[in-house]
C-alpha cells in the first residue's frame, strides 16, 4: 500500500469517526488513600493524580460501534497475539450482538488488548489498579466506605449472587458519591497494570521460581484482610493473560486532565 492510500484511509477513518455519542466521563479529584494491597508486606499510602473516569462500563453497543470502525478488532480478524477463542463469544456474529449480548449490557469476553484499543479510540486509557480501587472505595455518600461491614457484605452478596452469569444491565444501583456507576457489583474490569499484581510466583511463566522472580518484594498480599470482594476481583483478573477474555470481565476507561 502506498503512503498516499495509507493517508487516504486514515482520513476516511477520521471522517467517519463521530458516529457514536461521546461517553460520559466524570472528574475524579486527586487524593491520597490506603490501598487494600500491601506494598512490601505493609499497608501503603497511594497518591492519586486527578483524572476522569467513565461513568459506566463500556457496553456491547459501544463496542459494536468500535469494531465497525476498526475491523482489525472484529472477531475473526483480530490477531491471535491480541485475542483468543473466547473473544466476543456471546455475540452471534462479528457484527451481530444477539440474545446473550444485549446492547445495554456491559461488553465482556474482551481481551486486555482490545479494551486498551477501545479506550485509545476515545482518547482514553485503562485505569491503573490504584485509580480503579480509589474510586471503588466509595459508596453513595462516602468517598471511602471500605470500613463499613454492611457495605462490604452487600457487595459480596451481589457478586456471589451472580457468579457464572454474564453481567446484567448497567444502572440498577445508584451512582456513587463520585457519580460513577457499577464499579463494585456488576463485573470485573481490566486495569492497565493488572498483570503486575503477581499472585505468588508469576504463574504465566512455566517453571517460574518464587521470590527472586519479582522485583521489589512485590508479591501480592492484602494489607486489609476484610476486602473479600477485592480479593476475588484480583484473583479473577490475575488468572488471565492479556489476550484472554472471560464472560464476567469487561472494562471502563479513564482520561488524564486536558493539557497534561
Amino acid at each position: 500500500m502506498s503512503m498516499r492510500t495509507h493517508i487516504g484511509l486514515l482520513l476516511a477513518l477520521l471522517a467517519t469517526a463521530p458516529a457514536v455519542a461521546a461517553a460520559d466521563y466524570v472528574a475524579i479529584p486527586g487524593g491520597v488513600f490506603v490501598s487494600a494491597l500491601a506494598v512490601d508486606g505493609a499497608a501503603a499510602r497511594i497518591a492519586i493524580e486527578p483524572f476522569a473516569m467513565r461513568v459506566e462500563p463500556v457496553t456491547n453497543a459501544e463496542f459494536l460501534d468500535f469494531v465497525r470502525m476498526h475491523p482489525e478488532w472484529q472477531r475473526g480478524q483480530v490477531s491471535s497475539l491480541f485475542s483468543g477463542p473466547q473473544y466476543l463469544a456471546a455475540w452471534q456474529g462479528p457484527l451481530t450482538l444477539g440474545p446473550d449480548a444485549r446492547p445495554e449490557q456491559p461488553v465482556t469476553d474482551v481481551s486486555w488488548f482490545a479494551a486498551r484499543a477501545f479506550c485509545a479510540s476515545e482518547q482514553a486509557r485503562l485505569p491503573s489498579w490504584y485509580e480503579w480501587e480509589y474510586v471503588a472505595a466509595a459508596d453513595v455518600t462516602r468517598r471511602d466506605a471500605r470500613q463499613d461491614p454492611a457495605r462490604n457484605q452487600s457487595i459480596l452478596d451481589a457478586i456471589q449472587g451472580s457468579t457464572g452469569a454474564r453481567p446484567g444491565a448497567i444502572g440498577w444501583h445508584p451512582a456513587d458519591v463520585w457519580g460513577v456507576r457499577d464499579l463494585n457489583r456488576l463485573l470485573w474490569e481490566w486495569t492497565g497494570d493488572y498483570a503486575a499484581m503477581f499472585p505468588n510466583a508469576d504463574a504465566r511463566v512455566p517453571g517460574a521460581g518464587a521470590s527472586l522472580a519479582l522485583c521489589g518484594g512485590s508479591a501480592l498480599a492484602f494489607a486489609d484482610k476484610n476486602q473479600f470482594a477485592l480479593m476475588m476481583r484480583v484473583a479473577a483478573l490475575t488468572a488471565l493473560k492479556p489476550a484472554d477474555a472471560a464472560p464476567r470481565v469487561g472494562f471502563r476507561c479513564v482520561r488524564d486532565p486536558p493539557g497534561e
Binding site: 500500500m1 502506498s2 503512503m3 495509507h6 484511509l9 486514515l10 477513518l13 506494598v39 501503603a44 499510602r45 497511594i46 497518591a47 493524580e49 476498526h70 482489525e72 490477531s79 491471535s80 497475539l81 486486555w112 488488548f113 486498551r116 484499543a117 485509545a120 479510540s121 482518547q123 486509557r125 491503573s128 489498579w129 490504584y130 492497565g192 497494570d193 498483570a195 503486575a196 499484581m197 503477581f198 508469576d202 504465566r204 511463566v205 517453571g207 517460574a208 521460581g209 527472586l212 522472580a213 519479582l214 522485583c215 521489589g216 512485590s218 493473560k241 492479556p242 489476550a243 488524564d256 497534561e260
Partner: protein, 195 residues
C-alpha cells in the same frame, strides 16, 4: 504515577498500526502471532541511535524489559542474560543479539542507558539497551509476558521474563531469568542460533 502522559497519548496511534505495517514496501506479511505486529514503537539506544522496534525483524534475538534505577532484580536480570549467552557460546553457537527495553522512559535517558551498559560491560550491537521515545511499550510487554506496575516508592513491581524471538517475531521460548540459565531455554537459543 510516573508514566509520561505523552506516551500514553501515543497509544491512540495503536488503531492505525495494521495500516502502517502493510505500508512497508516489498516485505512479506508478518505472521499472525508476530510481536512486530504491535503498534508502532520507536526506541533510542545507549548510543543515542533511534530505530523502530519493527525494524528488528529479520534476525532472531532475545528481548526483555527493565528499568535503569532498579537496584536489585534488574542487575540480576542483565547478568543472567549474559549467563544465558555464555551458556550458548559454550555450546559452540554464536550469541544472539539482545534488546532490552525500558519501561521507565521518564527516567531512562541515553545517559542512564549508557551507564547501565557500562556497569555491566555491555556493548552494541550485541547488546542494545533502549528506551521508548514514542509508541506503546505496554503492548510490547504484554505480548512478551512481561508485566510491571509502578510502586509508591518510585520503583516498579515487575517480572524478569526474557523472550526468544525468531526472525519473524514469533515468541519461540521464554524464560524467567531470575536464576541459573534454564537448560531448555539455552537449548532453544542454541537451535535458533545454529540456523
Amino acid at each position: 504515577m510516573r508514566i509520561p502522559r505523552l506516551l500514553l497519548r501515543f497509544a491512540s496511534l495503536a488503531l492505525f498500526a495494521p495500516l502502517a505495517l502493510t505500508a512497508s514496501p516489498g516485505a512479506a506479511p508478518l505472521p499472525d502471532n508476530s510481536v512486530y505486529r504491535i503498534p508502532a514503537l520507536t526506541l533510542r539506544d545507549q548510543q543515542g541511535d533511534v530505530f523502530s522496534f519493527a525494524s528488528l525483524r529479520g534476525e532472531p534475538r532475545l528481548v526483555s524489559m527493565f528499568y535503569g534505577s532498579c537496584k536489585m532484580v534488574c542487575p540480576l536480570l542483565i547478568e543472567n542474560i549474559k549467563r544465558i549467552e555464555q551458556a550458548v557460546a559454550a555450546r559452540g553457537a554464536a550469541p544472539l543479539p539482545v534488546v532490552l527495553v525500558s519501561f521507565d522512559p521518564g527516567h531512562d535517558d541515553v545517559a542512564m542507558l549508557a551507564r547501565v551498559a557500562a556497569n555491566h560491560h555491555l556493548s552494541a550491537p550485541l547488546y542494545r539497551l533502549t528506551t521508548p521515545i514514542s509508541g506503546d511499550y505496554g503492548a510490547l510487554a504484554a505480548v512478551l509476558g512481561i508485566a510491571y506496575r509502578p510502586l509508591p516508592d518510585g520503583g516498579y513491581a515487575h517480572n524478569t521474563v526474557v523472550a526468544l524471538l525468531d526472525g519473524e517475531g514469533r515468541v519461540l521460548a521464554t524464560t524467567d531469568a531470575a536464576g541459573k540459565p534454564a537448560p531448555a531455554f539455552v537449548a532453544a537459543v542454541v537451535m535458533v542460533a545454529a540456523h
